[in-house]
């Protein structure tokens, strides 16, 4: 099929051939690249929205942005970061890496793979187009609680609903593809318990996606019928209940936050052993801990809604179940630390990002434990403490994880080494800026500053100014990251096949840059091979 399309493309205009190559590609590496590029673009778009918000919050009072517009970019920042930056980045990594890690020639369903990617640009074009519509973009926060999104939602909410449906279809198809690939296409001898941790975490993540994305589709469908077809799922006056919205949303939403972190766990589990030059400590317990986290994620959604008036029994159950998640998470963190213990460690950029991931994700985990406590949560609910918490798990968690992965595998993808000095500058600047931005939010939150507002009381002024300065710096470090990635793709020192001295795994046995087609004949994994 490929030779056929190549011979045909010779007669085409080069631009047309270029477009056809990327539009019609079914190659897992090319689709992985597309996913990563799209997520990088959307990361910058949503990030610039964050810059506008921090600009407005630099000082108390309304200076630059109309409060209604503030609500719109706040909503889109959340939605695009979650569905457009973090999730597609992980799917892109899965596309690139899973076939190479399990010794498969491609994903199991290559055409569906192409389809699930190409839905996304249209979904996000639709979502972003709402900014230019009459009545403005959706303005109810990424959680789109009813009745804000039903009775009071702007007309553009319907475009948002369609966009979410499209993203959902893309995610579900992508997840099915990943599971079918992992289950059916492992090289001979690669048993489940020999799979690299990144593959394991993605297998579990894919199941989470298939379980909860349809629930999200269900809840936006109910919104749509409430808005236009006279149903009253969430309208108290019509016999429905707005709290029901929160239950269904968070039944999706809590597993969703693990969807955004489990692949990051997998990445850290790949990188740390390489640079500690030791095998991953406690591989089996890592697998079971990931499974435990995934299962528990389905019974703790209520901790997002402690203040909605739940029975005490439900609050207690959810509080204990939530705190229980700290146990498997702790297992993972101790395993990473134990992997580093007495290792011959070196601190190349991917390792720095991975260690930063472990340390700062732990901070986010601890503030999560604080939020899990019902009595304390009544104080913290809807304050900047929550904002601090989830940015600590998402930025140094999901995004540092993704950046670690890019530094780690980029030499394999494009055959060039990145500039180590610039990489280290990027890491230290980003780490400094992340903490400068998000750490003060703990304090303003504990002092009672509500989230999702463009203006605040005077006593929060200093900490907000610090946050805004940090955010500006954080934005600049990402431009440095873009520069590093682009220059590495365009040239640089040639990378070897193994790239890293301590790297183990099938992807390091193929040449760098990885040829378009790999493992056309499956490799054989011997009895004594990893983990």
């Amino acid at each position: 099929m490929d030779t056929h399309s190549e011979s045909k493309s010779k007669t085409r205009h080069p631009l047309l051939a270029f477009a056809a190559r990327w539009l019609l590609t079914t190659n897992h590496k090319e689709i992985g690249t597309l996913y990563l590029c799209l997520s990088f673009l959307l990361f910058f778009i949503a990030g610039s929205m964050a810059m506008f918000m921090r600009l407005e919050l630099f000082e108390p009072g309304i200076q630059f942005i109309d409060p209604l517009y503030y609500n719109q970019i706040l909503t889109l920042h959340g939605l695009i970061m979650v569905f457009g930056a973090v999730m597609p980045a992980f799917v892109g990594l899965a596309n690139w890496l899973i076939p190479m890690m399990i010794g498969a020639p491609d994903m199991a369903l290559p055409r569906m793979n192409n389809f699930s990617f190409w839905i996304l640009p249209f979904a996000f074009a639709l979502l972003l187009s709402t900014l230019f519509m009459e009545g403005g973009a959706p303005n109810f926060g990424w959680t789109f609680y009813a009745p804000l999104s039903t009775t009071y939602g702007p007309p553009s909410t319907d475009f948002f609903i369609l966009g979410v449906h499209m993203m959902g279809i893309s995610s579900i198809l992508g997840a099915i593809n990943i599971i079918v690939t992992i289950v059916n296409m492992r090289a001979p001898g690669m048993t489940y318990m020999k799979m690299p941790m990144f593959v394991w975490t993605w297998l579990i993540t894919a199941f989470l996606l298939i379980m909860v994305m349809p629930v999200l589709a269900g809840v936006v469908t109910m919104m749509l019928t409430d808005r236009h077809f006279g149903t009253s799922f969430f309208e108290a006056a019509g016999g429905g209940d707005p709290v029901l919205f929160q239950h269904i949303f968070w039944f999706f939403g809590h597993p969703e936050v693990y969807i955004m972190i489990l692949p990051g766990f997998g990445i850290a589990s790949q990188i740390i052993p390489t640079f500690a030059r030791k095998k991953l400590f406690g591989y089996h317990s890592m697998v079971y801990a990931t499974l435990a986290i995934a299962v528990l994620s389905f019974v703790v959604w209520g901790h997002h809604m402690f203040t909605t008036g739940m029975p005490v029994f439900a609050e207690l159950f959810i509080m204990y179940a939530t705190m229980l998640i700290a146990v498997p998470t702790g297992v993972k963190i101790f395993n990473w630390v134990a992997t580093m213990w007495r290792g011959s460690m070196t601190f190349e950029t991917p390792m720095l990002f991975a260690i930063g991931f472990v340390m700062m994700f732990t901070i986010g985990g601890f503030s999560g434990l604080m939020l899990a406590l019902v009595p304390a949560d009544f104080q913290y609910h809807d304050t900047y403490f929550v904002v601090a918490h989830f940015h600590y798990v998402l930025y140094p968690g999901a995004i540092f994880g993704t950046m670690a992965a890019v530094y780690y595998w980029l030499p394999k993808w494009c055959g060039h080494m990145y500039d180590e000095r610039l990489g280290k500058i990027h890491f230290w600047a980003a780490t400094f800026a992340v903490n400068l931005t998000f750490f003060p939010m703990h304090f303003t939150g504990l002092a009672g500053m509500p989230r999702r507002i463009p203006d605040y009381s005077l006593q929060f002024a200093d900490f907000n100014m610090v946050s805004s300065i940090g955010a500006g710096l954080l934005g600049l470090t990402q431009i440095l990251f873009l520069y590093i990635v682009v220059t590495t793709i365009r040239g640089g020192r040639k990378a070897t096949a193994q790239v890293w001295e301590g790297a183990e795994g099938l992807e390091w046995t193929i040449p760098s840059p990885a040829p378009l087609h790999t493992f056309s004949t499956p490799p054989v994994i011997a009895e004594g091979d990893y983990p």
Binding site: A104, A108, L109, I176, P214, V215, T221, M222, A237, F251
Partner: protein, 192 residues
């Protein structure tokens, strides 16, 4: 890695996704059942209580509960709708009656349905209705008005810390097509 296995797994996983879509909708009745048992969300029972079941001996002579009445109309509803009594004091276990006033301000026959809600939600299951206009749809001719009654009692089991509760009704538009032709219907939409 046979092609058949791939197909089978894809189908199974697609079925799981479709099933979970259905599950989201199944959560709606599940939640209703849960709320009916626990009385969480302020929904009162949609059914009339039997007079014989009232335990009059449990009536609490020394306790008074203040009940406030609210009435509102849903979007698109042309009726005037208000309680005749803003609030009353009742004894738990004793029968009470109150009335609501409703007037059709439009120029055509309209059918409406009132939907009740009790706040605090915890009290909902203790408010028992013997008779209520909300049990059935109401039909009003153009310009007509009427008074509609509710007969209810507050269960003596009402937790001691609840001394005030609010019973609110929202009147929903069921149909305004009665007696009007298609053209009128369209123009009424345009006006709205």
């Amino acid at each position: 890695m046979s092609q058949r296995d791939k197909k089978r797994h894809t189908t199974l996983l697609l079925a799981l996704a479709v099933g979970m879509f259905g599950f989201a909708f199944a959560l709606v009745p599940l939640y209703d059942v849960f709320c009916e048992i626990t009385g969480l969300n302020g929904k009162t029972s949609g059914q009339a209580e039997l007079l014989a079941e009232i335990d009059r001996s449990a009536a609490q002579e020394d306790r008074e509960v203040r009940i406030e009445f609210l009435a509102s109309v849903a979007r698109g509803m042309s009726w005037e709708f208000r309680p005749m009594d803003k609030e009353i004091s009742v004894r738990p276990g004793m029968m009470n009656k109150t009335t609501f006033f409703v007037r059709n301000r439009s120029n055509k026959t309209v059918i409406g349905q009132a939907v009740p809600s009790v706040s605090p939600g915890q009290a909902a299951q203790y408010l028992k209705k013997i008779e209520c206009f909300c049990f059935e749809q109401q039909e009003l001719m153009a310009g007509a008005e009427m008074e509609m009654g509710v007969t209810f009692y507050v269960d003596a089991e009402l937790p001691a810390h609840i001394n005030e509760l609010t019973l609110s009704y929202t009147m929903f538009l069921v149909s305004d097509l009665v007696g009007s032709n298609e053209h009128e219907h369209l123009s009424s939409h345009n006006v709205r």
